[in-house]
């Protein structure tokens, strides 16, 4: 009875439901029911409610990896390709893309089916031999984990985003007036003369009191900040550590030498050639060759006439050298029995029948024990040291873990303890130049609790364990350490102050129209000339050029300045020549215009991206 009611209801309820269902599909798109892209996959971020799923992120990471591999090849450090490194940037990228995609689609940008197909067919990625291939397209879709239809939609979106961005990036410009102004500034040249009044000559007569030094020290603590430092003692293990203590006995050397002699026999090299008759021996043919050989016919001629080995045929049957294990045993045996230029009888191997000729025999001279002694001793020492190193390393790992003091461990191992001076987290010399050592020394357990560090592997056969002996927190360098530096600085200041008056007088005389060359000579100064200066320069010269360019272009202009060293400089600007765009070769001019408009368009794109992101509702999970 219930059944009938259900049947009755089915009609009306089903229609309502279907209508609602249809409405939802129409409004939200089918994604409402299937999930945007990753289906049930975990949400990593969302942009205006659009989900960026774990699936999207790992796909992005994979694509990024493939792209980097294609671009940089195998030279990339594994770290640069790791998911950890790439994940965050990929998420940011996906968010940026989602923002762009939404903005483009919201602005009503679409691509018609025909246009889309045209573009897809023209992409080399989906072509085989220059023709669009449905299979290639399907494969590409599968690699992205998408159905062909979804992939097509994805491409449409990408194209639309590209169009959206290009609308701005491709339409930027700089006006001629802006470019002209830029060149006027960047290529401006200035001519000026200057003199340098050195403080160096005065420093000897100037004294600085301890009170002055103290005062400066107290007033400028930031200048004397000292980073946190530690000093360590350490046990360093290398095979060489043990080599010194190893004695190699005469018997061992003898034994090793005898072994080498045995191996040496085998190192005789024979060069072989053959006439090869393939397959089951055609007895007649074998006999024919044998007869001709016996009759003294040339081996080479018979190779050419009979051999079935096409690779060696061209080279008189030559097969190259063997140490006794290159060819099948039957072959090697026959070869070993021959003397040079002798040819064997027929030799059967699995492949067929060979007539073997020994063409060359190199038997290196057997070295004497005396010749080999030093090398053998060295090799024995090294291999024993290596063994001791491995044992010691295991032992050290065990002992150091519980040790109160590394000295005990060292004693146990029979090695010495090294020490370093204080070093900061930016490292120092010797073992403290190793970033791994520095990092280990600055971990809290090692630095503060004075535990021994873990064993640090610096190389396959180079290990180290350390313990902090002194820890100096960050602070200020002691006055005694920096007193000399302060004294020098204060002396320079005083000397510079003494020169100020002279510099000002010279500046005034110049401003009043005095002749620079004459004034300089009177003052015992050398007049320097700097013509065609551009805006760049380093050190004192750089400071002077910068000052010359700070002057307004009204001539004549005079300026006195103090440079970093305390020296006083007086300069007189003679000429200012703005850069001239029109004087540049056309090629350079066009390149410059392009460069400037690209810079501007990039800035606009960045602003647009930021604008859209600011307006979007973005949340990032993990």
């Amino acid at each position: 009875m219930l059944q009938s009611m259900r049947d009755n209801l089915k009609g009306t309820a089903a229609i309502i439901l279907a209508a609602l269902f249809g409405f939802i599909v129409a409004i939200t798109g089918i994604d409402f029911f299937t999930g945007a892209s990753g289906g049930g996959s975990e949400e990593v971020a969302s942009v205006n409610g659009e989900k960026i799923s774990e699936v999207d992120v790992s796909r992005g990471v994979r694509n990024q990896q493939a792209q980097m591999m294609a671009q940089f090849g195998e030279n990339l450090p594994a770290e640069a390709l790791s998911e950890d490194t790439l994940r965050r940037p990929v998420i940011q990228q996906l968010i940026a893309q989602a923002v762009m995609r939404q903005a483009a689609s919201e602005s009503g940008m679409v691509m018609s089916k025909e246009e889309l197909n045209k573009v897809i067919a023209s992409l080399p990625a989906f072509q085989v031999d220059g023709q669009f291939s449905q299979a290639a397209f399907r494969n590409a879709a599968a690699r992205q984990g998408m159905s062909p239809a979804a992939f097509q939609q994805y491409i449409e979106q990408s194209l639309v985003v590209q169009q959206y961005l290009e609308g701005i990036a491709g339409s930027g410009f700089v006006t001629a007036q802006e470019a002209k102004k830029f060149v006027e500034l960047s290529m401006e040249e200035r001519d000026f003369d200057y003199v340098v009044m050195e403080v160096a000559g005065l420093l000897g007569e100037i004294s600085v009191t301890d009170a002055e030094i103290q005062q400066y020290y107290d007033e400028n603590p930031a200048e004397f900040a000292r980073p946190e430092m530690v000093a360590v003692k350490y046990i360093e293990l290398k095979p060489e550590t043990f080599a010194g203590a190893i004695d190699v006995s005469e018997e061992d050397i003898q034994a090793q030498y005898q072994q080498e002699l045995k191996a040496f026999q085998a190192s005789t090299q024979r060069r072989a050639a053959h006439i090869f008759l393939e397959g089951d021996a055609d007895a007649e043919k074998v006999a024919e060759v044998q007869a001709k050989l016996a009759a003294g016919e040339s081996f080479e001629a018979l190779v050419t006439a009979y051999s079935d080995d096409f690779a060696s045929k061209e080279m008189g049957g030559d097969l190259g050298f063997t140490g006794g294990d290159v060819f099948p045993p039957e072959f090697e045996e026959a070869l070993a029995a021959l003397s040079v230029n002798e040819v064997s009888g027929p030799v059967e191997t699995a492949d067929g029948t060979h007539f073997v000729k020994l063409t060359e025999l190199t038997e290196s001279k057997v070295p004497t024990l005396e010749e080999r002694r030093a090398e053998i001793a060295e090799a024995l020492k090294a291999s024993r040291a290596e063994r001791e190193f491995v044992t010691a390393l295991e032992r050290m790992t065990e002992l150091a873990y519980n040790a109160e003091d590394l000295a005990e461990v060292a004693e146990e191992l029979g090695v010495t303890v090294g020490t370093t001076g204080l070093f900061s987290s930016s490292g120092g010399e010797g073992i403290t130049a190793e970033p791994k050592v520095v990092a280990a020394a600055f971990t809290p357990e090692v630095k503060e609790d004075r535990n021994t560090s873990d064993v640090i592997d610096l190389a396959e056969d180079h290990a180290l364990v350390l313990q902090v002996t002194e820890h100096q927190p960050a602070g200020v360098f002691a006055l005694a350490k920096v007193a000399e530096q302060i004294s020098d600085k204060l002396k320079r200041e005083k000397a510079s102050a003494q020169l100020a008056e002279k510099a000002e007088a010279l500046q005034a005389a110049l401003a009043a129209g005095g002749d620079f060359a004459l004034l300089a000579e009177e003052a015992g100064l050398t007049l320097e000339t700097a013509d065609k200066s551009r805006r760049t320069g380093f050190g004192e010269r750089g400071e002077i050029v910068t000052a010359a360019f700070e002057l307004s272009g009204d001539l004549p202009a005079v300026k006195a300045l103090k440079v970093n060293s305390g020296n006083r400089v007086v300069l007189k600007l003679r000429d200012v020549r703005p850069g001239n765009l029109d004087a540049q070769p056309a090629e350079q001019r066009n390149a410059l215009l392009r460069q400037l408009s690209v810079l501007d368009a990039n800035n606009e794109s960045a602003a647009m991206e930021k604008y859209l992101q600011d307006a979007a509702d973005i949340s990032i999970g993990n």
């Binding site: 009611m5 209508a19 409004i27 410009f173 960045a606 930021k610």
Partner: protein, 234 residues
Amino acid sequence: MADHLTEEEQIETLKRWWNENGRSVVFGVVLALAGYFGYQGWQKHERTQAETASNLYQQFTRGIESAGQGGESGDATRIAAELKQQFGDRIYASQAALTLAGQAAQANDLETAVRELQWVVDNGSEEVLKLVAKRRLASALAGRGELDQALALVQGDVPESFTALYAETRGDILARQGKVREARAAYQLALDKLLPAQANSAQLIELKIKGLGEGATDGAATDEESTESAKESE
């Protein structure tokens, strides 16, 4: 609920329910269906319109491209006019205008550039494109020497993301008007508000500040120094 009722009673209940609610159910269904099909129809129409505009724009960019390679422009200007007329409220019209303006400005035809950019500022549908167009318009007007009009365009508040760009253009115009102090302030603002992705232009803006001349970089430092030396020489 229905378990203890006879079949007739059930049918009776249902009939009663239908008599009471039938009208609204039918109305609801009709409304839902109308909404559904109406929405679908509207969507289809919208899509067709969008595709037509998109195809036109595609033709336009092809024309521009071939013109760039010395070929026929394919009536890019005519197509742009058609876009503006038929699809003026779509993004494609603005984009075509921006492109034409860029081409014109590069060929030093600032009159056309100003006209196209003005069209986007007046008729554009996309806020962000209008922001871009407005600044470009200021720069094109400044290029023609119409400094006051240009300045008016880049004054006032803009979204944070465009502050640096507008400030730099403002600085350019003020510098040409000889208002050194204001220009310096504008450039400084541009430097302060530069987005990370715009870091490349910091050097250029600093150069522009230097170009303003003595005292423009850091006038205070030089003053300080001369007083300092005067004091020391006492």
